[in-house]
């Protein structure tokens, strides 16, 4: 199940998204700058509701380095 980081243009779009995602039976995360961390189910729900968003996910290939905690 792919995870996406998405961002909304303004508060109005964010509000539309909240209502479109209210009944999606999967958890999501809200973070600053009108961004959300969501799953594929949320992406589909937003598309069905015609809510505009930008997918800003950065995919790292198999040779990508893993962040190391201090």
């Amino acid at each position: 199940m792919a995870t996406h980081v998405i961002q909304f243009r303004d508060k109005e779009k964010y509000k539309q998204a909240i209502m479109a995602l209210l009944d999606v039976p999967v958890s999501r995360v809200g973070i600053p700058d009108l961004k959300m961390i969501v799953s594929e189910e949320h992406i589909q729900a937003l598309k069905r509701a015609n809510v505009e968003f930008k997918d800003i996910t950065k995919r790292v290939g198999p040779d990508g380095s893993t962040p190391v905690q201090p």
Partner: protein
Amino acid sequence: MAQRPFNPDALKPHATSWLQPNVCNWSSVWRYTVLVPVEQIQSDGTARTIATSDDLTNLELMFIEHLGGITFLPPVKGLGCRDPKRPRETLETNKHAAYLVYAPAAYVSDQYFQALRAELQEALVEGIVMVERQEALLL
């Protein structure tokens, strides 16, 4: 008393810099679950909207501003009676928006969430808005 919009400014006096949780290895934090009623469905089929889309948006953006982020859980439905003395007549189903938030294991967090509960109860004209707290250790 009439329902009014949720007012995030009511929480500003409690949103100190201490409220941002220290999210790192071996941090002891408090995890709050907040259930905000969005719809009340009575046994005769009458449905009433409680928290509006504006309320939910303002609440979510306020949590992000004050606590750095939130997890929005799938909606939670519960069945209960509004008046325990008249369970059959007042049986209702409530649909809730459920938020999970980390905060520091400190008194300021309890103050913040008690103020939140009071503001939600007053704005939505609800007898009790459920806010629960659990202790968590981040590994």
